[in-house]
């Protein structure tokens, strides 16, 4: 039994959990923490997305957990391999902040909102409903998803803990 076991998801990383384990990723700024949950199987998945699209990748070996398009698709695949069904899945997300305000605001500076937009678009394409989100703002977040309940808990320095 893995009741309450904490599974850490790093930056540009993804993982799945069941049997009561909790997925956690820390220090989300402009990155988006995207979670999928199958309530029937009590199966949870989490991706720490850094960039909106793998189209901009220039790396030789693509880290598919890094980009919204490839990460969400891979997360879905991994969950399906564990028996999840797309129609049952619900998505939640947090992060996508704009940590620093700059005059002009180049594309790079708007990366948080762009990560959120890109993630939503991918979810729409995969026909997975976004149940709730806590995105935007100018502050960092640490999130935990319980595979027991599907509850996403979000902690920030300014606002403490909230659950969605």
């Amino acid at each position: 039994m893995m009741e309450g076991v904490l599974i850490k998801v790093g930056m540009a990383d993804l993982n799945i959990a069941d049997e009561g384990a909790v997925l956690k990723t820390t220090g989300l700024g402009s990155c988006v923490g995207l979670t999928l949950y199958d309530p029937r199987l009590r199966l949870a998945g989490m991706a720490h997305i850094m960039l909106p699209s793998s189209d901009i990748a220039r790396e030789g070996q693509l880290n598919i957990a890094k980009y919204a398009d490839t990460a969400i698709t891979e997360l879905l695949l991994r969950m399906k391999n564990k028996g999840a069904i797309t129609e049952r899945l619900i998505a939640k997300m947090a992060g996508g902040a704009q940590m620093f305000a700059f005059m002009g605001g180049s594309d790079t500076m708007r990366i948080g909102p762009r990560n959120v937009e890109a993630s939503k678009l991918v979810l729409k394409q995969l026909a997975i409903p976004l149940l709730s989100e806590d995105t935007g703002g100018n502050y960092g977040r640490t999130i935990e998803l319980s595979s027991q309940t599907g509850m996403l808990s979000i902690r920030s320095v300014q606002f403490g803990v909230k659950e969605i």
Partner: protein, 205 residues
């Protein structure tokens, strides 16, 4: 990174010197500002996995005071001056001459003072670097955040993000007295900037 295939040792040494010269001048500026000695550790230059970069300042969730600015010009990059809350308080106390508020909120005056410190430090770092390399380098207006280190530093890694999962960090630690880390100066040149830095300093590519 392909650029480091040849003469890697020389190149890393040159980047250490970049950190040395830049942060050396910034330390002098800080020392003048606070009217007390500020020491500096030997710069560390490493390719680090993204996760490991926030470990340098206490971990992804550690709350830090960070001043961030973009370096613009011939060799663009990201620059952070990062201090933990306690040393930030001491710096403000030294600078403003009165005790900063006990709670975690900073007053307008304190925020503006921290921003100005960032401005002065980054300015002296970049001026000396520009003199040393002959490259044009100027800072944008600094921006301040008090938040989780991971959330803050990820901003400086976006340029490297499209290329891999590591970034090259030039890290110089400021010391107040021999024992305690006062703050970190992070310079993360954009991947494209290294070739320009090396050429400017006559390092064979």
């Amino acid at each position: 990174m392909n650029l480091f295939r040849n003469n890697a040792d020389i190149k890393l040494d040159v980047l250490k010197e970049v950190g040395n010269i830049g942060a050396g001048n910034a330390a002098t500026a800080l020392s003048t500002l606070l009217n007390k000695p500020v020491d500096m550790a030997m710069p560390q230059v490493n390719f680090l996995p993204f996760e490991a970069i926030s470990e340098r300042v206490g971990g992804s969730e550690a709350v830090v005071v960070a001043i961030f600015l973009r370096v613009e010009g011939d060799a663009p990059g990201n620059m952070f001056f990062i201090i933990n809350r306690e040393p930030a308080r001491r710096i403000l106390q030294g600078l403003l001459g009165f005790d900063a508020a006990e709670n975690d909120d900073y007053s307008e005056l304190e925020l503006s003072a921290l921003n100005e410190i960032g401005n002065i430090l980054a300015g002296s770092y970049l001026t000396s670097l520009a003199d040393f390399t002959g490259l044009r380098m100027s800072p944008t207006v600094p921006s301040l955040a008090v938040d989780m280190a991971g959330a803050i530093l990820s901003y400086g890694l976006l340029q490297f993000g499209t290329m891999g999962d590591d970034a090259l960090l030039i890290d110089t630690t400021f010391l107040e007295g021999p024992q305690e880390a006062e703050g970190h100066f992070f310079f993360i040149p954009d991947p494209e900037s290294f070739e320009k830095l090396f050429r400017a300093l006559g390092v064979p590519i």
